[in-house]
């Protein structure tokens, strides 16, 4: 007896448990691997069909070897069970996978059917087929001629159903030279106009190709066979009325172009073979390809391409000939175009190669003068050449932008026109939008100073990240950017700059696109190139140019302008905010909004998005600017929360001129920041409102002496403060970074003396050591204490989550209490301001002692404050809800992500209890419902673990596979 009668792949083995019924109980005989096959028992005897199970632990031991006899009554139960009776003992095989069970069952069933057939006296051809199919003996295919086609087709179809059959089929197809004979057969059948035979030939060919065997496919695309193969495939029985013309297409040898003669025959043959493989894959078999054949085709193509590329790039003579075409003034234009296309094809193939191989190829190309080729291609008047040159360039940038930057740097050293300038020229005049947009991308990436960050990080660049970028700029890159701003930037943005002075904006359709691209580029520069971008923006008044676009009638251009302004606001940079305010940029946007508001269109949403952002980020400079200058317009929009909030925010902080911190800083000029940072955290979190936004930056800027509202030097500041304080009492202070808390309560105190004490101010303005304002001091101190330091990025996250809701609610309750329209509420607020100025000290005390009450007091100026206070409590309680939610999602992710996690509750408990204590708070408790359900949730997740896990596994492993719920579509995964 042999342990391994027939060699088989491990994948053929089906993992299985063998059971035997003993005393009405299924006894486990062990786990092993099951095979079913014909086994030679004795010489010269027919082989016997057997089911064999080898033990998993001891591969030599057989757990089961049973002959398939017709009386045993094999049965398949469910999907994974086969049961039968052997020597009066009930036996069972329990398969791990249904698929394995099905395969073994197919064999058993086939054998059993032959028994029945023999019994029934039917012809035994089927059983013979089956024997051939399963047995190891060689079998012979009938000779390939038209008469045998039905048999051939039948046999092939049957054999291709099993793994063993396929193996043998491959062998005999190759032995019998079936493939080379196809050509003749097709021609004969065509001569006879025998459509049936042609269909048969097509089916046979499909079967053979789908056998998924490298040798067969290679044979099929060989010079002598390929026409026969595709000829047969021209007659597809699925489309009985159609005939393809593959032969005509492939037999046209002139399709293969050689710009420079490829001397090596094998390589030339490989190129042609690859073309045929691609044709087979993309055209002929596109509809019927299964995954295994698809990958076999792909890997054949891949290995050919590796060889081809390798041959080209190691062949110095070839490359010299190729690149010298571009240096040769006498060379025909067509030849140059073809050379570009050749290089384009090389680069397209290179995309699939391993990075080192790709690197070699590009370095090699660059060494031979690829840049000249790109220059030539980009300037060519034939659009396909430009497209190809663009593709080459983009492929290189995609591979390694640094490599291209080095090249440009070298160009600069050698005083050549840098590639970036060529790109700019093309971007401005190109009519092919595809090329245009790729130029835009290329330019952006080449002038990028840092590795590209994920998009969301780019949207909100935290300060630190920006700093790090600044430090790590490579000097070469620095030079490149310097050159860009000195020489090229003005040319690039010329279409924008040309807008200056134009009143009627009319564009050709093609011209319009450029503004979108310039906007994208400029936005990316603003994010990347700090001071250079700022300087450029200011000197060329680019923001005003964008504003001009708001007046043109094309809505998408108006959108471009709005997006640009949004980018400036997103930067959250004091400098830009001032610029926006100073140049009155938001006014025109308000006008656009007012025009669009009744329409509810994209323009309207985009404007609202911008103002919501300003309000949410609480960009004070802008809110102040907006309310001061456009109060009427804002009030007209005050039926929306955002605008109402803006007005009330402004009104709450109105009426005092100087920021308390201003005094603080003057106070201790040895090290104010350090002193403050020590003191600030002492106060517990107050942060219901988001006031602390620009504190850090503001200080920085102040101490750097940058913060000047207009173009005056810092030394003039306090003069102006003075002026405004005396002449325009309603105007806001010069520096106004403090929080509402300070402003609303303590701030009043601080500013009142500031107004009175002219002496103090003038002392400051003369540059003398600052004098502590007598009354302002303690108030300011309290205010500073009241401001916890917070990173903007962290803040932002929380604001989005809850603070907004909180504010909504406060506003709601306020309205409920006052029952006044927004406008009169504004008046109320102003009136209240007067009052609070009077009882300042009391309010101040409240601020320090009781955070909660003061918050309520501040945000709802209406005296009906019990209600407001209650709401304030409610809102402060909404924090635990969020925590609870976070925890619950964390627990879930643990369970889900780990797959095998057990329900764990303790973490969630605090959240649950905290919230349930306050279940009268309306909004809170809705989410709380979710929180208390957490325990339940966990249990449920535990139960669902099985399915979930299964889903997850598939979603990870099988990317291409279609899933019922498309779970594999994970955009995060696509980031890579």
């Amino acid at each position: 007896m042999m342990a391994h009668p027939v060699p088989h792949h491990t994948t053929d083995k089906k993992r299985v448990k063998v059971y035997e019924l003993r005393n009405n109980d299924w006894f486990d005989r062990g786990t092993g691997f099951c095979t079913a096959q014909f086994v030679p028992v004795q010489e010269n005897q027919p082989k016997e069909p057997r089911v064999i199970v080898e033990s998993e632990d001891h591969p030599d031991r057989l757990l089961l070897e049973t002959k398939i006899v017709k009386d045993d009554g094999f049965q398949k139960q469910q999907d994974t069970l086969i049961v039968w009776t052997e020597n009066n003992v009930d036996m069972a095989l329990s398969f791990q996978e249904a698929e394995g069970c099905a395969m073994i069952w197919k064999f058993i069933d086939g054998v059993q059917q032959t028994f029945h057939n023999v019994l029934g006296g039917a012809d035994d051809s089927l059983s013979e087929d089956l024997t051939m199919d399963m047995s190891n003996s060689t079998f012979t295919l009938p000779p390939a001629d038209l008469a045998n086609l039905p048999d051939l087709e039948n046999i092939m179809r049957q054999m291709s159903n099993t793994a063993n059959g396929r193996e043998m089929l491959v062998k005999s197809i190759m032995e019998h030279d079936i493939i080379p004979s196809l050509g003749n057969l097709v021609e004969m059948a065509e001569d006879l106009e025998s459509l049936d035979d042609l269909f048969r030939l097509c089916n046979m060919t499909k079967t053979m190709l789908l056998l998924n065997d490298t040798a067969i496919i290679e044979k099929a695309v060989s010079d002598e066979c390929v026409l026969g193969v595709v000829g047969a495939l021209e007659y597809d029985p699925d489309f009985p009325k159609h005939k393809a013309n593959h032969r005509q297409w492939l037999s046209n040898q002139t399709r293969f172009k050689e710009v420079v003669k490829i001397e090596d025959d094998t390589i030339r043959r490989k190129i042609q073979q690859t073309f045929r493989l691609l044709y087979l894959k993309d055209v002929v078999l596109a509809r019927i390809l299964d995954d295994p054949t698809f990958s076999v085709l792909n890997s054949l193509i891949f290995f050919n391409q590796v060889d081809i590329i390798n041959h080209i790039q190691t062949n110095g003579g070839f490359l010299n000939d190729l690149f010298s075409i571009f240096a040769d003034p006498s060379a025909q234009h067509l030849r140059k175009k073809q050379a570009v296309t050749f290089l384009h094809d090389c680069c397209a193939i290179a995309k699939n190669l391993q990075p080192p191989a790709r690197q070699n190829l590009y370095t090699n190309f660059l060494g031979h003068g690829l840049v000249r080729v790109i220059n030539f291609g980009l300037c060519d008047h034939d659009v396909t050449v430009r497209v190809h040159a663009t593709d080459i360039l983009v492929a290189m940038i995609d591979h390694d932008p640094q490599m291209v930057r080095h090249t440009i740097y070298r160009q600069l050293q050698e005083r050549q026109k840098p590639l970036t300038d060529v790109i700019i020229d093309l971007l401005l005049v190109e009519v092919d939008l595809g090329v245009k947009s790729q130029m835009q991308d290329a330019l952006r990436i080449l002038l990028d100073v840092a590795p590209i960050m994920p998009p969301d990080a780019r949207e909100y660049p935290p300060n630190q990240q920006r700093l790090r970028q600044l430090q790590s700029i490579d000097p070469q890159q620095e030079l490149l950017i310097q050159h860009f701003y000195e020489n090229s930037a003005a040319r690039l943005f010329k279409p924008l700059l040309d807008l200056e002075g134009q009143t009627e904006l009319k564009f050709q359709p093609m011209q319009e696109y450029i503004f979108g691209y310039l906007n994208d580029i400029l936005c990316s520069f603003i994010r990347q190139h700090q001071h250079r971008a700022k300087y450029f923006l200011i000197t060329h008044s680019l923001a005003q140019r964008f504003v001009q676009l708001l007046s043109c009638k094309q809505k998408h251009l108006q959108l471009v302008a709005i997006r640009f302004i949004k980018q400036l606001v997103l930067m959250n940079d004091e400098f830009y905010m001032k610029h926006i305010a100073e140049k009155q940029i938001l006014g025109p946007i308000l006008d656009v909004l007012l025009r669009a508001i009744t329409r509810d269109n994209l323009l309207c949403s985009a404007c609202l998005d911008l103002f919501v952002l300003i309000n949410k980020e609480n960009v004070k400079d802008l809110i102040k600017h907006l309310v001061e200058n456009y109060r009427e317009k804002i009030m007209a929009l005050s039926h929306m929360d955002t605008f109402r909030e803006m007005v009330s925010r402004y009104d709450q902080t109105e009426g005092y001129t100087t920021n308390p911190e201003y005094f603080m800083d003057e106070d201790e000029d040895e090290g104010p920041t350090a002193a403050e940072s020590e003191r600030r955290p002492t106060r517990p979190t107050s942060g219901l409102m988001e006031e602390q936004l620009t504190v850090d930056q503001a200080q920085e800027e102040y101490w750097n002496g940058v913060s000047d509202e207009e173009d005056e030097g810092p030394q003039n500041d306090s003069h102006r403060t003075n002026g405004t304080a005396t002449t325009l009492p309603l105007l806001k202070p010069l520096v106004e970074y403090g929080s509402d808390e300070e402003d609303g309560v303590a701030g009043d105190e601080a500013t009142a003396p500031a107004k009175k004490d002219d002496e103090d101010n003038s002392a400051k303005s003369n540059g003398e050591p600052p004098v502590t304002p007598t009354k302002g001091g303690p108030a300011a101190a309290a205010a500073v204490v009241a401001t916890p330091p917070e990173r903007i990025s962290e803040k932002r996250r929380r604001e989005e989550d809850e603070d907004d809701d909180a504010f909504d609610k406060l506003l709601q309750s306020k309205r409920r209490g006052s029952n006044a329209s927004a406008a009169s509420a504004g008046a109320d607020i102003r009136k209240k301001m007067g009052i609070s100025e009077d009882d300042g000290p009391a309010a101040e005390g409240a601020t320090i002692e009781d955070n909660g009450t003061s918050t309520a007091d501040r945000t709802s100026p209406n005296p009906a404050s019990p209600l407001a206070a209650a709401t304030a409590v409610t809102t402060s309680l909404s924090t635990p809800k969020k925590i609870a939610f976070n925890i619950s999602s964390k627990v879930k992710s643990m369970l889900g992500g780990g797959g095998g996690g057990k329900p764990s509750e303790p973490e969630a408990d605090p959240g649950t209890t905290t919230t349930s204590a306050n279940d009268k708070a309306q909004e809170t408790s809705i989410t709380m419902g979710a929180t208390t359900a957490l325990g339940k949730e966990n249990v449920r997740i535990g139960q669902r673990e099985g399915e979930e896990e299964e889903k997850k596994e598939t979603s990870k492993s099988v990317v291409q596979e279609v899933e019922e719920e498309e779970e594999e579509e994970d955009p995060n995964a696509m980031k890579d």
Binding site: K257, Q305, P455, D609
Partner: protein, 423 residues
């Protein structure tokens, strides 16, 4: 015959139109779409369709079953492209119809209408294959950015309209009012479900115990969602259509209107959630196995519907073998319109018909632009008693279920081979 009609005819024959025509079409489409709000208001009668996924011949089948545009008013809930072999023809045809009949076609954005996703799931490759360059893909992606994010259907009737050949409003065999009717592709009624009687009330009460109602005083300016009950007199309540589902950041429909939608679908945030989320049998919000968007439970849907005066949310995004699936006491329905998805899933497809309410009661459009409508609507806010979370009476729904188009109507998908080759 105008250029547009010619393009429609050519696309209906499943033949792509030239690149320059695509550019012009996209240009026109942009002009139209830019005028649409993030949430488009659509009046019943309307036929709501789910994912199509480039199954052009099945789209033709859909038009056969649901009626040809512009005779039927269609609302497609995104995912026109990817997976199928004819994403290009499918999307361009829908876009042509949109440009030709702007008021009879509504297209909203699905998660597949995105640059990132289409580069992976087929649309990019298809465009490259059919045109030899990615320009057409770029044009289409630009249009994707302009597509609306959702739609509100107003004026749907809560009684089912008589189907062809019937003269009176159909009833169930017991004589009850019909809420749901399911028809096959030939228009024959397969089943009818009566509207549950008032017994539902107590049901609702017990179900929602412990969940206090949301504030009845919505802030002004959020009119539709606050107290205005923007669809005063609309017997069936509004239907929100969105591709994926709800977002924790969106508690009111009006919040959707505040998004600047002209951008690539982000990886997180409200816009992402609307296109990626799924309803699930959970409480509250859950992490989505898709890696984007969230899972949301029945409580979320009920609160949202109540707060926004919605009777139903229609969405797509998930394959359902039966073509449609109502969840959470019919407060949300998934509609799937790609039969035999990916040519191998074996599912049937469905479309959802909402008929017009002919009672003549007014329909109010909702938008940010309606100044003071919150006050105007205040009077009607007493309709719901405090402490109850009673779902609006849902519109009567007719589902037409259909199967994949027969095989022989399909052409042969293939890449246009390159004319000349160098390598």
């Amino acid at each position: 015959m105008s250029d547009l009609d010619r393009a429609i005819a050519q696309l209906r024959a499943c033949r792509p139109i030239p690149e320059s025509d695509v550019r012009e079409l996209c240009h026109k489409a942009r002009e139209i779409l830019i005028e649409e709000g993030n949430v488009v208001t659509v009046n019943a009668p309307v036929t709501i369709c789910g994912d199509i996924h480039g199954q052009f011949h099945d789209l033709m089948e859909l038009f056969r079953v649901g009626g040809d545009p512009p005779d039927t008013n269609y609302l497609f809930m995104g995912d026109f492209v990817d997976r199928g072999f004819y994403s290009l023809e499918t999307f361009l045809l829908l876009l042509c119809l949109k440009v030709r009949y702007p008021d009879r076609m509504t297209l909203i954005r699905g998660n597949h209408e995105s640059r990132q996703i289409t580069t992976v799931y087929g649309f990019y490759d298809e465009c490259y294959r059919k045109y030899g360059s990615a320009n057409v893909w770029r044009y289409c992606c630009d249009v994707f950015d302009y597509l609306a994010l959702g739609a509100i259907v107003l004026g749907a009737s809560n009684t089912i309209s008589p189907s062809a050949g019937e003269s009176s409003i159909p009833t169930t065999p017991e004589g009850d009012e019909v809420e749901i009717e399911v028809c096959n592709a030939q228009g024959e009624v397969m089943s009818r479900f009566p509207r549950p009687n008032n017994g539902a009330d107590s049901d609702v009460q017990s179900r929602t115990n412990g969940i206090p109602p949301p504030s009845n005083t919505g802030p002004p300016g959020s009119g539709a969602s606050g107290l205005s009950r923007g669809s005063v007199g609309n017997p069936a309540g509004a239907v929100l259509c969105v591709h994926g589902g709800l977002s924790p950041l969106i508690d009111k429909v009006d919040k959707i209107r505040l998004l600047d939608r002209k951008q690539e679908v982000p990886h997180e945030g409200a816009m992402c959630d609307l296109l990626w989320s799924d309803p699930d049998e959970i409480d509250g919000w859950g992490l989505s196995p898709r890696g984007a968007g969230f899972l949301f439970g029945a409580d979320i849907v009920k609160v949202f519907n109540h707060r926004n005066d919605l009777s139903l949310i229609a969405r797509a995004h998930q394959l359902v073998m039966e073509g449609f699936k109502e969840m959470f006491d019919a407060s949300i329905v998934t509609v799937w319109s790609a039969p035999n998805y990916c040519y191998r899933c074996g599912n049937v497809a469905a479309l959802l018909e909402l008929s017009e309410d002919d009672s003549g009661l007014g329909v109010l459009a909702r938008s940010n632009g309606d100044v003071n409508r919150s006050n105007g609507g205040a009077g009607s806010s007493g309709g719901l008693g405090e402490g109850e979370l009673q779902p609006m009476k849902g519109p009567a729904r007719r589902y037409r279920v259909f199967q994949a188009a027969p095989q022989d109507s399909r052409g042969m998908p293939a890449k246009k081979p390159v004319a000349d080759y160098f390598l």
